[in-house]
Amino acid sequence: MKPGFSRKIEGYLFISPWLIGFLFFVAGPMVYSLVLSFQKWSLMSEPKFIGLQNYAKLSGDPLMWLSLKNTVYYVFGSVPLRLFLALILAVLINQKIAGTNLYRAILYSPSLITGVALAVVWMWMFQPDYGLVNSLLSRIGISGPRWLGSTEWAMPALILMSLWTIGSQMVIFLAGLQDIPGQLYEAAALDGANAWQRFTTVTLPMLSPVILFNLIMNIIQSFQVFEHVYIMTGGGPANSTLVAVLYLYDNAFKFFKMGYASAFAWILFLIILVMTLVVLRTSQHWVHYQGGV
């Protein structure tokens, strides 16, 4: 009974900055957001309680559905490619080769230039008439599309450039790869496994918890894609890149429909939550935990 009452209080004192911040900037606003979602309010007049009308209106809002569709397009286009590329690069860097640190630094560096700088340089590179991308394409005889100016190609352009920011995932994969005990590879080699077999029977199963982690973080982040879209296309052309958070932002801070936007925020939150739970559920079949080794 030595660590008595005062020691317990001490613990709360240490975490109190977080606790205060959490109550005022996370928990409180979340409750308030739920209240807002049942109100009609444009910041000008008095807020009016309207029950579930925001949610009912959302379900019949074609732009809401379009924004969800576009977001799903982005998520399904971007996440698998990003994971695949990050994994391949991590495996390559993890070979016993010279220059590991340099490669890692170079491949990570675009992840540093968050949002704005990367967005403006890609806007220029995607210019249809004088951009770098189409210039390279024309060299191999392809007349490139109008990229950000095309309803068909704007989203693929955004997905393509998202591949430049896989640095964090690559570093996380790399850390996971370095944690795989060398004996496993030795044992597999003794059993006559070739490089590809060692990859599928040792690397992939041992790395599966890290793959799951990266997959979930990626899905959560991609569902919230905003910055690049806001800067590069503003949702256009013809709403072809209107993603969910952009539509939410427009409703809240352009049209000042605070209640309506809050309701949409909760729907988005629920979708992300369900997606995460579904992935977690399926992971039981493909994630291998080390305890059994």
């Binding site: 490669y103 968050t114 988005l268 992300i272």
Partner: protein, 289 residues
Amino acid sequence: MIITGERMAHRHTAKRYAGLIATHLVLILFSIVFILPFFWMLSGALKTSQQVFSFPIQWLPNPVVWTDNFVKGWTSRPFNRYLLNTLFITLVGVVSRPLASSLVGYGFARCHFPGRDFLFVIVLATMMLPMQVTMIPLFVIYKNIGWINTYYPLTVPFVLGGGPFMIFLMRQFFLGIPGELEDAARVDGCNSLQIYYRIFLPLAKPALSTVAILSFMYHWNDFLWPLIYINDEKKKTLVLGLESMKDMYAGSWNQIMAVAVLILLPCMMIFFLFQKYFVQGISTTGLKG
């Protein structure tokens, strides 16, 4: 768990060398592709307006415009003012977040109190919480208490606790420090605050550096929060200024690139100087997976 660097014994055959060369070739190719946006940015910053439009593109500026685009770009908006604003916000974050997150992380790692594990799960959950849910109510709250167009929304939430990820990082670090040190200090009559301050904080320099560096990157580049909470032209940050340049006439790509290069420069320098802290910080995230 065994974390040895032990690898398979490789036979130095011709096949192995071929594999090595192929690996390098692929990595070099990807490195070039990944550096391309930087290269294009820098090259663009040194070009004339005509060269910006040339098609097929010109890889290198000719003639090189050394200073013009930087000066014109930087003075096209009140960037000196934006720099001061950004420096202030970033400085507050860099100083306060290591301190705050180490306090909270210490509490979660080394103190025993009812509800600790439950509260820590909440910390982890907020790491994954989409900010869209709190973005709108926070705007309304800030509006009501007069925080719009101030730097409070960009600093206070981070000063309090340092942010969930930083707390997680510090806690993981403190968990790894052996308990004997703490016991010995307690026998000597130190209280928890003294133990935190005299023993744990000095040991935590690598983790504190990681938090400081990640905080710098975050606040320097943060776009969404300033976009929502700062409308006053004079109070904007560097990245907001850069974003507003995209509406300039098309011939100013060289000026936009010049400003982008200037904003990136500090981040790049910090990254290449302190690379190991980044790797440490990012790797920690994955380990709990």
